[in-house]
């Protein structure tokens, strides 16, 4: 509870950069804070655990909390930087250094929206549903537009180590590069396994992948 107020004020100072803003930033914080806290308490008493979707899902990590607080408003650059740095540090890489798997399996993962809903079978492998938000292979016409088109991702950026590394990092933790992104953090939250991430990376960066045709 304490830390949230501090976080709020630090954001204010950093954004405006003068001492006077401390007063402004902190003065407005308690009222808003009170609403946030009551909303959180209300949610905890209004949901029921259902299968794999336990009440722990309502507990926010630092990133989720700060992003919720700034939602609907511009994120101050210093706050964004702080979030991105913290998220970059969460990224883990395969021990064998191999970042690229099989694009065919990656395509299946990108198509599947199964996983983590209480209505889903937790024993089945989860998908990533990249197509829900992105255009990828031009053959798939049923794609969403919450994220940018990834058609020709590898071809456009070049089939380099940097591109492969960026694809891995972005899928592992999208907020390492875009604080409060609408894209899920697939590695950080263990939505996808290491091998699944490799396969989706392949879908983006393999020259033979339909994405790059």
């Amino acid at each position: 509870m304490r830390t949230r107020i501090v976080g709020h004020c630090i954001g204010g100072i950093a954004a405006i950069g003068i001492a006077a803003s401390i007063v402004y930033g902190c003065a407005s914080a308690p009222a808003e804070n009170d609403v946030s806290e009551r909303a959180e308490a209300m949610m905890k008493s209004s949901f029921k655990a259902h299968g794999q979707a336990t009440l722990a899902r309502l507990d926010q990590d630092e990133t989720q909390r700060v992003c919720s607080e700034y939602a609907g408003r511009a994120l101050p650059p210093a706050v964004a930087e702080r979030i991105e740095k913290a998220n970059l540090e969460t990224i883990r890489y395969p021990a064998d250094g191999n970042l690229v798997g099989d694009w065919k399996s990656g395509e299946k993962i990108a198509q599947s929206g199964q996983g983590f809903q209480y209505s889903d079978d937790p024993k089945k492998a989860a998908g990533a549903n990249c197509y829900a938000c992105h255009q990828l292979s031009p053959k798939e016409l049923s794609y969403g537009t919450i994220g940018p088109s990834l058609y020709r991702f590898g071809k456009t950026r070049g089939y380099t180590d940097e591109t492969r590394r960026y694809a891995w990092q972005k899928i592992y933790n999208a907020e390492a590069f875009a604080a409060c992104s609408n894209m899920p953090r697939f590695g950080y939250h263990h939505i996808l396994t290491e091998q699944q991430i490799r396969d989706v990376v392949a879908l983006l960066v393999d020259p033979a992948s339909p994405v790059n045709q």
């Binding site: 909303a39 926010q60 939602a71 829900a132 016409l141 969403g144 939505i191």
Partner: protein
Amino acid sequence: MRTMIRLAVAAGAAAAFAASIGAALGESTADEIAKYREALQDGNPAELWEARGEQMWKVPRGPNKVSFERCDLGLGPGVVKGAYAQLPRYFPDAKRVMDLETRLVWCMVQQQGMSEADALKNTFGNGSAKRSDLEALAAYVASQSQGIRMNVALDEPHVHDMYRLGEKMFYYRGGTHDFACATCHGDDGKRIRLQDLPNLTKVEGAQKAYTTWPAYRVSQGELRTFQWRLNDCFRQQRFPELAFGSDASIALTAYLAGRANGAAYAGPAIKR
């Protein structure tokens, strides 16, 4: 004798619909969906729920043999005309802000003498074997606000507080996918796969969405209430299950209904 027939043939219509989507992506997708809806608007099965709800409204029910004509939805006992357009509202007798569904349950329990478990038995129906009285009642009551402007009393302190809490919830990110309502409903012109997503942070978006629920869902063959809509979006959001009639459900409803203020209620509509 000349007889012309038009039939809503689910399998056929849905297949043709899917084919036309595949063929005409982009801007025309919305047009196709609009056409499909229009074709069905004329014979919206929601009316079957409304008719059942209207009947139920009038007959004595529960151990106390009391009908809903004693139930006060905010405009006086038994008054349904325009009631939905002013809900959620604060009810001093229950000391709580309530939406339509929670108020109906309250009347069943407090006036008709039903147990809460019985009143909440079939909140969301499933076919003729598991029909929901609440869905039928909600369809009937809502239909009696057709054409009436949404007018949720945001200046009433309890309602105002719920509105503010609902707004916070709308932006609350959590779960395994970092989703909030705003993730999917915070921008103009976005879609998930081919489903258009209303921008509920804008007044027009909230108005268009809120004023069409309850709605008949062709894909389920069921009439669904706003409680169901919220419940199912939270499922997709990977959150735990929203309890029916919980404070959080009412806060979010107050937020979206309040944002819809000024728009004429146009439901129960028909949806995908």
